[in-house]
């Protein structure tokens, strides 16, 4: 250690995390501070690295499906959808219509659940304690639907390659509709609590601005990109699983600041409810499982399939060598890539804003580290 007193140091290095309540997991951010001002950051990640891609290379295609739920564990169903679509593409098959509609309903519910968790914890970071209870209360209703449907609440393993394993339970439509009816007023309630709240506005407006150009430069997707005014959503741009049949809008923001990202996510929840309502009304009858061989051996080839997960573009790059196990399975995690923009967003801001920005990125460390 060089001899120096703390008085002559102009830069203070502060460790935030990995055990820090508002890093949403085990993210470690090394902050270089000049007083209250952040001069630079460095993210140290990997604390939750489980080698998901290596595991994927050593499991059969069906066996790997439960593992993808454990990446972005607050949006497990979306992960499962992306993986199933990728393998289905590799096999060049499609799930039957009934399965597709069910998948849409469940993933949209999942989007709401993920955004609710984000909203609750984000508000908690900013200092509003009330919303977290309300958000978890409503999220509980979604988890109950999952529990009734597939028997698990969080890591659902709801979808199988080629369709679904479980037939819809009696009362699924009613429960989902009841949830939609109950939920929309609740969103208004959250907005009542937060949108005009002066602390909330003061902490979020103009904080962590990321423009559309910067977003593209950093590969940032999802609500963060849309808040910057780029009207891009994979559900519209490259529809999958029958999303082209539904009527919904892509909410966008203008300034690309934290407040806009909040507004975009609130709107997205409303749009998800809209999609769910349309989908529940037209669940077709028919089989739920496509023609999939018992032993899945896709022909030699590679595909990249991506979906709009709650956090952004979630992609799977699967290389097959005509064996029962993927030759290479790469996950393109939205959280990992969005987190890279953290440095740009916090530079020049205040320490307190770091918490707001980490929250607004909506990262899940299970997905960042895989």
């Amino acid at each position: 250690m060089p001899e120096s007193t703390f008085l002559d140091s102009t830069e203070l290095v502060l460790n935030m995390g990995p055990q820090h309540p508002s890093t949403h997991g085990v993210l470690r951010v090394i902050l270089k501070l000049d007083g209250e001002k952040v001069n630079g950051t460095e993210c140290v990640i990997g604390y939750l690295h489980r080698g998901v891609e290596k595991i994927g290379e050593n499991r059969t295609y069906q066996q790997f499906a439960p593992y993808v739920d454990r990446m972005d564990y607050v949006a497990a169903v979306s992960n499962g959808l992306g993986y199933c679509l990728a393998v289905e593409k590799l096999l060049n098959i499609e799930a039957p219509p009934r399965a597709q509609v069910t998948r849409v309903i469940l993933t949209e519910l999942n989007r709401i659940a993920s955004h609710l968790l984000w909203l609750g914890t984000h508000a908690l970071d900013i200092g509003a304690i009330t919303p977290v209870f309300y958000c978890f209360r409503e999220r509980e209703e979604i988890l109950k639907i999952y529990e009734n449907y597939c028997g698990a609440r969080l890591t659902t393993h709801a979808f199988r390659i080629g369709g679904l394993q479980y037939e819809l339970y009696d009362g699924f439509e009613e429960q989902t509709k009841a949830f939609c009816d109950m939920f929309l007023p609740k969103v208004d309630e959250y907005e009542e609590l937060l949108t005009n709240n002066r602390i909330w506005v003061g902490r979020l407006k103009g904080v962590g601005i990321l423009t559309g150009e910067e977003c593209k430069e950093y590969g940032v997707t999802g609500p963060v990109l849309r808040a910057a005014g780029v009207k891009w959503d994979l559900r519209k741009a490259q529809p999958y699983s029958g999303y082209e049949q539904y009527d919904f809008e892509i909410p966008t923001g203008e300034n690309g600041d934290t407040y806009d990202r909040y507004m975009v996510r609130m709107q997205e929840m409303r749009q998800s409810v809209r999609i769910i309502r349309q989908a529940v009304d037209k669940i077709p009858s028919g089989p739920i499982m496509g023609k999939v061989p018992k032993v899945i051996k896709p022909p030699v080839g590679e595909v990249y399939v991506s979906i709009e997960a709650p956090k952004g573009e979630l992609g799977y790059f699967v290389v097959s060598d005509n064996s029962t196990q993927p030759y290479r399975l790469r996950v393109r995690p939205p959280s990992f890539i969005n987190l890279q923009a953290l440095d740009r967003m916090v530079r020049g801001g205040l320490v307190a804003d770091v918490v707001a920005i980490v929250g607004t990125l909506d990262i899940v460390l299970g997905e960042v580290d895989r």
Binding site: P66, E147, C150, A152, H157, E192, N197
Partner: protein
């Protein structure tokens, strides 16, 4: 002017407080009194594994086909069988299931051709030792016996 009014009279604050106040209604109590009251889990809940027995004669339904062990991503099921020379059939000797590594994905249940292996609604799987999480055939057939609390 309106903005100033809102600012002076703390309209946003009272708006928020009103939402909080509305939710004080005891109708909205969500807390579960576990363990005094056990929560009711869904019918399809994937919890503790169970090896079903035929209720009529108490014999196991398992035919020892090993499909569950092959389907399991974690490879935590070990099935051993013995050939019965009289009936010329495979008979189950032991069945071990390591719940400590189980992620309750349900693939074993799906793979079972005779519905012998099943994930049930029991969700209390804690044990005092690591070895306690490895369930043998007897444990799988009887199911876990969690402590019931009287309150």
């Amino acid at each position: 002017m309106g903005k100033l009014f809102r600012k002076i009279f703390l309209v946003d604050l009272f708006q928020g407080l009103w939402v909080t106040f509305r939710n004080q209604n005891p109708k909205y109590i969500y807390t579960e009194q576990y363990p005094a009251e056990r929560p009711k889990v869904a019918e399809r809940y994937r919890g503790a594994p169970r090896l079903n027995i035929n209720p009529e004669n108490g014999e196991t339904l398992c035919i020892g086909c090993n499909l569950c062990a092959l389907a399991c991503p974690e490879g935590l099921i070990v099935v051993t069988t013995e050939r019965n020379e009289k009936t010329r059939r495979k008979e189950l000797t032991t069945f071990t299931y390591d719940t400590s590594r189980c992620m309750f994905c349900g693939l074993c249940e799906d793979a079972c051709p005779v519905d012998a292996l099943e994930l049930t609604q029991d969700f209390e799987l804690a044990s005092y030792t690591r070895e306690g999480a490895i369930w043998d055939r007897q444990m799988l057939e009887e199911g876990p016996k969690p402590t019931r609390y009287r309150c």
